[in-house]
């Protein structure tokens, strides 16, 4: 028996992401999810006789920005090609795509794993193509076999899709998911896609092979098709690695083929072998003029690229000392992360900013359904609050109360502290008077303490805090109580 660790996986991902544009790739129809079937269609996206495509400039700009974000080369010249095959969902029976001259070449994606390790996966290319329509098979169990008839909704036909093709740089299912999450975060950040998985706006295929650890030769790969959730990707790749490992261990040979992922069974299954592969007969689409990309346009678009998630992640870990989970939590909510950055900049206190943003503010956001960054609490006000806490002007209890009032729109915490006299008091004389009063009112507690029930101290502290309306310095209260009782 050979230990499974003898093998390492080699994984490359092809991932389709729908672009966020107002109109479709080659016509003026709305690029929106849903709607009554076949209401967002025109002669062009239905491929009526005589209709011609015209390329969407916004989609091309999105592609260039995505490429620039990953450090890809943007060739000066690009073109569209036709990928020919018959498919009922596809109106023209060819897909307009890009073959040998894509809009972006190379580049790499930096991503991280749960433990905070930063990794990198090279990109082969990102190219632009169009989506197909959607079939529904009726009168059976939803599959085409056994259905009485099929209906097609062409609303999605012609929606712009970018296809990101990675190099086989990924070594585990976790890395594959980390890579996909980085793509998703970056696209959302750039505003080129909203990556709504539930609407199918990200779909991917994985090429998986395994090889003995230390080997540089590639094993025979299989391609797992059409996974549309990170969970499927994780499970499918793990299951495929296990399947291939088992075959090799039992002396078998991997067959190069396309495999489908069965979510309910948790296994991949053979779809078609390499021998049945399509001949797509790619050739330049004569209906579309080649795309010439001006260097000035590239430079203008480069200026619109914000710092990428991986950069932010590294900064959060190294400068702010956040743990990877907190950092990820922030980065996965870009506006919240921006809010956080502003709060840190204003307060100079990353730890307290993290605590408030991921703690009380996120809780209030959940309770009220208002996003933190949309709430009345500005980063500057939060910084004020942090300053009050840090200076021990207020204690954490008062801070919590103030935050709720700030959320309700009462404004500056400093002003509230001044107006309501909420500043913490460390005046021993004043606190001493509260202590004396509390001890006098609670003879039983005092007796209990003296008989050894020292945990009653917490109760007494609470009473003193209450008597001081929360303003007393809790540490001092504790100190004075002990002094009186011991």
């Amino acid at each position: 028996m050979i230990a499974p660790t003898k093998y390492e996986a080699v994984i490359g991902i092809e991932c389709h992401v729908e672009l966020t544009t107002r109109s479709k790739m080659f016509c003026g129809c709305a690029n929106e999810f849903g709607g009554e079937p076949n209401t967002k269609v025109c002669p062009v996206c239905l491929a009526l006789p005589g209709a011609l495509p015209v390329a969407n400039k916004a989609a091309i700009e999105h592609m260039i920005r995505a490429g620039l974000a990953f450090g890809a080369e943007i060739p000066a010249f690009s073109k569209f090609d036709r990928k020919n095959y018959f498919y009922p969902d596809m109106p023209k029976d060819y897909q307009i795509s890009q073959y040998d001259m894509p809009l972006t070449l190379g580049g790499s994606v930096r991503y991280w794993l749960d433990d905070g390790t930063i990794k990198e996966c090279r990109l082969t290319r990102i190219h632009l193509e169009e989506d197909t329509g959607k079939s529904m098979h009726a009168g059976g169990d939803g599959r085409i076999a056994g259905s009485a008839y099929s209906l097609i909704d062409f609303n999605r036909a012609g929606v712009p899709l970018m296809e990101c093709v990675s190099e086989p740089d990924l070594r585990s299912a976790q890395e594959a998911v980390g890579y996909l999450e980085a793509l998703k975060r970056t696209f959302v950040l750039l505003g080129v896609s909203d990556v709504k998985m539930e609407e199918g706006s990200l779909r991917c295929d994985a090429n998986v092979s395994i090889r003995p650890v230390g080997s540089t030769a590639l094993g025979t790969k299989t391609e797992i098709k059409n996974m549309n959730s990170f969970r499927s990707v994780l499970r499918a790749i793990d299951s495929e690695i296990a399947r291939q490992t088992e075959i090799l261990e039992s002396g078998g040979r991997i067959v190069q083929e396309t495999r489908g992922w069965d979510e309910s069974q948790g296994v991949t299954h053979s779809m078609r072998s390499k021998e049945e592969a399509h001949d797509y007969r790619y050739f330049p689409d004569p209906d579309l003029v080649p795309i010439e990309i001006d260097a000035a346009l590239i430079e203008n678009l480069r200026k619109t690229i914000p710092p990428l998630p991986a950069q932010r992640f590294e900064r959060y870990l190294s400068e702010y000392k956040l743990d990877p989970k907190q950092a990820t939590q922030l980065i996965d909510n870009v506006p919240l992360a921006q809010y956080f950055d502003e709060a840190v900049a204003a307060s100079g206190n990353a730890q307290q900013s993290t605590n408030f943003v991921l703690g009380d503010l996120s809780r209030l956001a959940n309770e009220t359904g208002v996003a933190v960054q949309a709430s009345p609490v500005t980063p500057a006000q939060l910084a004020e609050l942090i300053e009050l806490v840090e200076a021990k002007t207020i204690n954490s209890k008062i801070a919590k109360e103030l935050l709720e009032r700030m959320w309700a729109g009462e404004g500056s915490p400093k002003a509230m502290v001044e107006k309501d006299g909420l500043a913490q008091t460390s005046d021993a004389g004043e606190i001493g008077r509260f202590v004396a009063a509390v001890l006098a009112e609670n003879p039983k507690a005092v007796a209990d303490y003296k008989s050894g029930k020292t945990n009653i101290l917490g109760f007494l502290t609470g009473q003193v805090m209450k008597a001081s309306r929360g303003k007393a310095n809790p540490a001092l209260v504790n100190e004075l109580l002990r002094k009186e009782l011991d």
């Binding site: 491929a47 009526l48 006789p49 005589g50 011609l52 018959f86 007969r281 003029v289």
Partner: protein, 486 residues
Amino acid sequence: MNELVRRSAAEIAREVGAKRLSASEVTEAVLARVDEVDDRVGSYLTRLHELARRSAQRVDERVAAGEKLPLAGVPVAIKDNMCLTGTRTTAGSKILENWIAPYTATAVQRILDAGGIPIGKANLDEFAMGSSCENSALGVTRNPYDLARVPGGSSGGPAAAVGGFEAAIGLGSDTGGSIREPGAFCNIVGFKPTYGRVSRYGLIAFASSLDQIGPLTRTVEDAALAYDAMAGHDPMDSTSIDRPVEPAAAGLRTDLKGLKIGVVKEFVTEKLGPEIDALYRRAYSELTDLGAEIVEVSLPSADYGLATYYLIAPAECSSNLARFDGVRYGLRVEGDDVGQMYEKTRSAGFGAEVKRRILIGTYALSSGYYDAYYVKAQKARTMFAQDFRKAFERCDLIAAPATSGPPFEFNAKSDPYSMYMMDYYTIPMSLAGLPALSVPCGYAGKPQLPMGLQLCAPLFEEAKLLAAAHAYEQATHYASQLAVAL
């Protein structure tokens, strides 16, 4: 015959514009002519009497309201591969026999906006593939000068309609000579503008990189008028050229003084027989009589024209015609599954010539043959452009035969290759995207039947080309020297 039907488009537009004649009167005269002769000629697949009458009424109203319409009341025959809202648009194929277009082609719309009256949808070789109009699946069109002979193809319907006085302007499409050749056969002017000058939006594609809409008319002036109405950028066609159009109708001239006209060394007319050789020699000397200087130019690639064309055009058509699959519109023949439905539909829907070209094109694009055929053909095509560029360094225009002989009898060219040879003189200009026209230049054969002189200009020099053709036409008047057969 009502003399109104003999009038040129220019005369009609002038008279209607001056309110000396109404669009309705002209339309009634032409409709009567259609009713009288078209059962024998077969120009039209669909007659549009009602629409024509409504359009004429509307034009008369517009003229009465003071609008200046360059084609006011001009009867137009529309080749049936151009969409016109609400009318049957068949492309001469069974697969679209009953398809009603839900939108209008840009070129057609511009002609109608200029005051043109749609008389009918005219016959053509199926999907514009052919050189005789014998490949229509839906009807026979006869040459108005000899009903036993073909009108030429693929724009045989509009050419016969104009030649037989059933319209003043025919809208045709030229891929390898499909306007110039039937123009020559029907004793009229057939004009193919520069590729991209007239929008292809709404023209049912045969070979996208070659297809070009142009007019068939009885005079060069009419061709210029129609061209002026149609030419210009269309945002719906990305291959349409965004560059100002020099109006052609205003610049027509009556001599050729100062022009150098090139005669192509490789276009030897001797091998066409003494009669045709003499005819073209006479045509060239007529050009000198008008003041032109004849110079010899060379197109070294000339003999590769057919081979190049019959790879590129079929390659594009194999992809363009994929959409006719029975899924969304047109003919559907049911099968046990979707694959069988495709097969049965396309087997029943396409004629032999269309299938032949789809097969050639599929083969030429398939992996393993792509470089040897398609890529090589594209390289040869570049050679044509270069050859012409060089030739035009020595001359302003090129003169050549339009066809290798006069109209032939039905079924005279039974093997595809001898039919393809018909386009020997027109294909080089198509491959280079150049503007070219055919103008009547005399008669040949027994009985004497029309022949055409082809003139060709550098890219975008339509105005110069039409001006010269006008001078030749005005000096020779060949069109009026032979009577139509009915």
